[in-house]
Amino acid sequence: MKLKQLESCLGDVTQFSSPKVELEQYPTGPHIASRMLFMAENSFGDITGRLVADLGCGCGTLGIAASLLDAGYVVGVDVDGDALALAQENCEEFEVEMDFVQASLSELPLQGLHVDTVIMNPPFGTRRKGADMEFLAAALKVAGTAVYSLHKSSTRTHIQRAAVRDFGAKTADVLCELRYDLPASYKFHKQKEKDIAVDLWRFTK
């Protein structure tokens, strides 16, 4: 599948109708999601035929993208039952098979090294401080090979240090900088749309 095809497909993923502020349920847009997965597969071979986990999967965009790129198996984990129900509907729409687990990332019930690749778009940690770090710690715990994640570019130094020093990553690299086109989803967003610079990271174990 070509990048443009993947991006156009992902435009059909149904997003949250009423996102939950406390969980920072920002949608992962088709532009960013398609580039993230395409790079993971084309540059590193981390998706096709691999076991992939989408942590904090929300409505399932990244997991569906992995399935469309022929991941061997995809599991989505989210704390929010409404998000998981929507993600299941999206999977049916796309005719892809994903398993889902309702769980909190701080007490992730997944065992050691079963999953090859983790893909995630974690909360930026602006509503609940440290939420982004909680995701990163969990991801590096369960991933056997690599973690792909999005973080605000402004937190680059901090992420790099935490991943290697605190969470056991062997390497931590920014693959590219993307513009996160955040629609004004919540009342506290004053501007109609806001571009945020985010880094696409690849961490290895």
């Binding site: 035929g49 691999r50 076991l51 061997g72 198996y73 599991v75 704390v79 039952g81 998981l84 129900a85 299941q88 098979e97 398993d99 889902f100 687990v101 309702q102 769980a103 909190s104 701080s106 007490e107 992730l108 019930p109 997944l110 065992q111 090294l113 079963h114 999953v115 056997g144």
Partner: protein
Amino acid sequence: MRLLTHNMLACNIKGVTKGFPLAIEVTKLETKESEMNPDFLRHIYPKLDWKALHDAAHTLGLNDIPEQVEPAMLEDEDFLQKFHHALLEVHLEEGALICPETNRRFPVTKGVPNMLLNEDEV
């Protein structure tokens, strides 16, 4: 939820040391055919806890998963088909997963296990 997922789920209640494998309580199963990928099965095989898969398959009424596997069997089409079926085609739609140490019950509803913990379990 398929048995591949079961093979990586553990009870995470604070203080629990033997939270794997979770016992399975079956209310409703569904079988959905999917294309077999032998390379993926060979890739996943060394990562699996085979005894947990064998026991779980047995609980689901899948009695043709052998207790022990030799790597040579991964070249056998007939075995791979059974392996694929047990691991990736049978879905636990309704039921529960039960912690082997505490007997805590995690319900499975519409195919999704709810592994959320209560405040006093964290």
